[in-house]
C-alpha cells in the first residue's frame, strides 16, 4: 500500500531527512529545552536558576490545577463526542455521495479551517454574545437573554466547530472503503438501518473513527485561543494556564512542567489508541 518498507536506504533517507531535520531543530530541541526547564527553580528576579528541583511538578498536585486539568480533559472528551455525533452522519453522507456533491461538501467542511482562529471565534462572539444574534432574537420575544458565552458550553461549541473536519475526513476515508454491497447484504439479511450501522459500518470504519478521535481529542485538550476568547476567565484550561504562567506570572519552570505533562498525556493517549487500532486491524485481517 505505501512505499515498500524494504526500499533501499538512500532512497527513504532523502524522503525523510528534510522534514526530519526541520522537526529536530524546531520541535525536538525546543521540547528538550522545555523538559530541562521544567526541573529548574523559579526565581522572581531572574525567571529561573539552574538549581534542579521537582517542585514544579509537585505544585501541579495543587487542587486548583487538578481542577483545570480535569476540566480540560472533560472538555476534550465532550468535544470529541460531539464531533463523533455530528461527524459520523456527515462522513457517511460524503463518502456515499457523488463526486461532485462530496467535493462541495468537503469545501464547506474545511472552510472554517481557512479562516483564522481569532476571526472565526469573533464570529461566534457576534452570534452568542450578550447582545448577539441569538440573544437579540430571544429578547425580541420578550424573554430573558441566555448566558451563551463564557461557559464550558460555549467552549465546546467553539472547539467542535473547528475540529469537526478532523473527525469527518478520516471517517469519510474509512467509510469510502466499505463496499456498499455489504450494507445491502446486511439489509437483505434482515438488518434495520441502525443494525446495519452497528454491525457493519461501525466495525469496518473503526480505524477512521479512532484516528478522528485521536486528532480531535489531542487538538482539543491543547487548544488555547477558543477557550480564552469564548470561555473567558471562568473556563480556564491547560493551554490558558501555560500561557498565563509563561507571560503573566513569568513562571517559566512551572509552565514548562505543565507543557511536559500535557505532551506526555497526549502521547500516552495516542499510543493507547494506536495500539487499539492495530489490534482491531489484526482482528479484521483474521490473523
Amino acid at each position: 500500500m505505501t512505499v515498500s518498507a524494504r526500499s533501499q536506504r538512500p532512497y527513504w533517507i532523502s524522503l525523510v531527512v528534510p522534514l526530519g531535520l526541520y522537526l529536530i531543530v524546531f520541535l525536538v530541541i525546543p521540547f528538550i529545552n522545555i523538559i530541562v526547564l521544567s526541573f529548574y527553580t523559579h526565581s522572581p528576579t531572574r525567571i529561573w536558576t539552574t538549581e534542579l528541583t521537582i517542585a514544579n511538578y509537585t505544585d501541579l498536585l495543587d487542587a486548583s490545577f487538578v481542577t483545570v486539568l480535569l476540566r480540560t480533559l472533560r472538555l476534550g472528551a465532550v468535544c470529541t463526542a460531539i464531533c463523533v455525533l455530528f461527524g459520523y452522519p456527515l462522513a457517511y453522507f460524503l463518502a456515499r455521495a457523488s463526486r461532485r456533491t462530496a467535493l462541495i461538501g468537503l469545501f464547506f467542511l474545511v472552510m472554517p479551517l481557512m479562516v483564522s482562529a481569532v476571526i472565526r471565534t469573533f464570529g461566534w462572539l457576534v452570534i452568542l454574545g450578550r447582545n448577539g444574534l441569538i440573544n437579540s432574537a430571544i429578547m425580541a420575544f420578550g424573554l430573558d437573554r441566555l448566558p451563551l458565552l463564557y461557559n464550558e458550553t460555549a467552549v465546546v461549541i467553539g472547539l467542535a466547530n473547528v475540529f469537526v473536519p478532523f473527525m469527518v475526513l478520516p471517517l469519510m476515508a474509512s467509510i469510502e472503503r466499505i463496499n456498499p454491497a455489504l450494507e445491502e447484504a446486511a439489509r437483505n439479511l434482515g438488518a434495520s438501518w441502525l443494525q446495519t450501522f452497528r454491525r457493519v459500518i461501525l466495525p469496518l470504519s473503526r480505524p477512521g473513527l479512532i484516528s478522528g478521535c485521536l486528532l480531535v481529542y489531542s487538538a482539543a485538550i491543547s487548544a488555547f485561543v477558543v477557550p480564552m476568547l469564548m470561555g473567558g476567565a471562568r473556563v480556564r484550561v491547560i493551554g490558558r494556564q501555560i500561557y498565563d504562567q509563561l507571560l503573566i506570572s513569568y513562571q517559566w519552570p512551572n509552565a514548562s512542567a505543565i507543557a511536559t505533562l500535557l505532551v506526555i498525556a497526549t502521547t500516552c493517549f495516542a499510543f493507547a489508541v494506536l495500539a487499539l487500532m492495530r489490534r482491531s486491524a489484526r482482528q479484521e485481517q483474521g490473523a
Binding site: N179, A181, L182, E184, A185, A186, R187, N188, L189, G190, A191, S192, Q195, R199, V200, P203, L204, Q283, E284, Q285, G286
Partner: protein, 368 residues
C-alpha cells in the same frame, strides 16, 4: 431437515409476480414496463446485455430500488412498500459481499442473530448450511482467507440459512474462472432443486442461463424480448435480438418470394433463393432469415439433400479444439458462419470449395 421447504401450495397464485414494473431514472433511461410471474420452485433467469434492466429488476424485487410504477407480489401480497430487511428474500451478490470483519461462521449466522435465534439452534442451522455448500470446516476462517469459489458458496449459505421465500442471484459466478464457473453452475442448480426454493438469476452469460434455467427472460433496452424455456429461446427465438444474443446466428436480410408445400421461399439480399421454415407471411414481406452455425452441414461428394444445397468457398477457418469455425462465402455473395465438428473440418483449408446444405426447417424466418 429444516432447510428443505416443502411445496405445500401449488395453486394458481404464482410465488412471485411482477406487474407492469417501471423504473424511471431520467426521461431517456426507462426500464419496463415489465411483467413476469414465477411459479414456486421455478428457476428463472433474466438474461441480457449490460444496461438491459435485469439488475434493476432484481434490485426492485430485493427492495434496493423503488419502482416508479407497477407492483411486485410475493404469493399474492404486494411487497413494494416493505423495506428490504422485512422481505425475507435472499440475495447473492456478484462480489459475494461477505463481511470481512466476521468469521465465516458469524457471516452465516448474521441473519439468524438478527432474528434472535437461540445459540443451540443457531449453531445447528449454521452447521447445516455450511454442510449444504460443502464447506463444513471453514467456520473459524475469515472471508479473505477463502478462494472466490468458496466465498461464493458461503454467500449462498448465508442466504439459504434464513430459508428465504425467494433466492435472487446477481451474476454470482461472473467473478470466477471458467472451470470453477462450470462446476458452481451445476452445484447451484442441484442446490436449488434440493431446497425447492424459487430462484431468480440475473446473468449476461447465455450458456449459464441455458444450463440453469427452467425459463429464461431475455431482456434488452429495459424491455422483455422473450420469455420461454431454454429450448424455446434457442430454437424459436421471437425476434432478431434474441436470435443474435442467444448462441451465434447467421442473420440474413431477405424478402419472401413465395410459399411451397411446407416451406416459405425467400430471396436473400445477395440473391440466394432458400426454402425456409413455414411462417405466416405474405409475398414481398421483408424478413430476416436465421440459420444456426451448427445447422449448416458440409456435404460429402454426391450426397443428395432435399433442399438448400449451396456451393461455397471457405474464407477463413478457426480451429477451436472440439469444433471448427468456418467462415464461408456462399455463392454468389452471402457470408455464413458454420460450426462443424473436428473430424469433418480437419481436411479443409481456406480457399477450398465446399458444398453445404441447410434443412428448410433450420432456416427460421423472423420479421425485421
Amino acid at each position: 431437515m429444516a432447510l428443505i421447504s416443502t411445496d405445500t401450495e401449488q395453486g394458481s397464485t404464482p410465488e412471485l409476480e411482477i406487474r407492469n414494473l417501471v423504473k424511471r431514472y431520467t426521461a431517456q433511461s426507462v426500464i419496463g414496463p415489465i411483467s413476469l410471474s414465477v411459479a414456486a420452485g421455478e428457476f428463472v433467469s433474466l438474461l441480457g446485455p449490460s444496461g438491459c434492466g435485469k439488475t434493476t429488476t432484481l434490485r426492485c424485487i430485493a427492495g434496493f430500488e423503488a419502482p416508479s410504477e407497477g407492483s411486485i407480489l410475493l404469493s399474492g401480497t404486494s411487497i413494494e412498500q416493505q423495506p428490504p430487511n422485512r422481505r425475507n428474500i435472499g440475495l447473492v451478490f456478484q462480489n459475494y459481499a461477505l463481511f470481512p470483519h466476521l468469521t465465516i461462521f458469524e457471516n452465516v449466522a448474521f441473519g439468524l442473530r438478527l432474528r434472535r435465534i437461540g445459540e443451540a439452534e443457531l449453531k445447528q442451522r449454521v452447521g447445516q448450511a455450511l454442510e449444504l455448500v460443502g464447506l463444513p470446516d471453514l467456520g473459524e476462517r475469515y472471508p479473505r482467507q477463502l478462494s472466490g469459489g468458496q466465498q461464493q458458496r458461503i454467500a449462498i449459505a448465508r442466504s439459504v440459512v434464513l430459508e428465504p421465500r425467494i433466492l435472487l442471484f446477481d451474476e454470482p459466478l461472473s467473478n470466477l474462472d471458467l472451470k470453477l464457473r462450470l462446476t458452481m453452475r451445476k452445484e447451484l442448480r442441484e442446490l436449488q432443486r434440493r431446497l425447492g426454493t424459487t430462484a431468480v438469476y440475473v446473468t449476461h452469460d447465455q450458456s449459464e442461463a441455458l444450463a440453469l434455467s427452467d425459463r429464461i427472460v431475455v431482456m434488452s433496452n429495459g424491455r422483455i424480448e422473450q420469455i420461454g424455456s431454454p429450448r424455446e429461446i434457442y430454437e424459436r427465438p421471437a425476434n432478431t435480438f434474441v436470435a443474435d444474443f442467444i448462441g451465434g446466428s447467421n442473420l440474413i436480410d431477405a424478402v419472401v418470394v413465395g410459399a411451397e408445400a411446407g416451406a416459405t421461399v425467400i430471396r436473400t439480399k445477395g440473391g440466394l433463393i432458400l426454402r425456409a421454415a413455414l411462417k405466416a407471411c405474405s409475398v414481398g414481406d421483408r424478413v430476416v432469415a436465421m440459420i444456426r452455425p451448427e445447422r449448416v452441414r458440409l456435404l460429402a461428394d454426391g450426397e443428395a439433400v432435399p433442399d438448400n444445397r449451396l456451393n461455397a468457398r471457405i474464407k477463413a477457418l478457426t480451429y477451436l479444439g472440439q469444433d471448427f469455425h468456418l467462415s464461408i462465402d456462399v455463392l454468389p455473395e452471402e457470408e455464413l458462419t458454420v460450426v462443424t465438428r473436428g473430424g469433418a473440418g480437419s481436411a479443409l483449408a481456406a480457399g477450398d470449395t465446399v458444398v453445404v446444405a441447410v434443412a428448410a426447417t433450420d432456416i427460421l424466418v423472423l420479421s425485421r
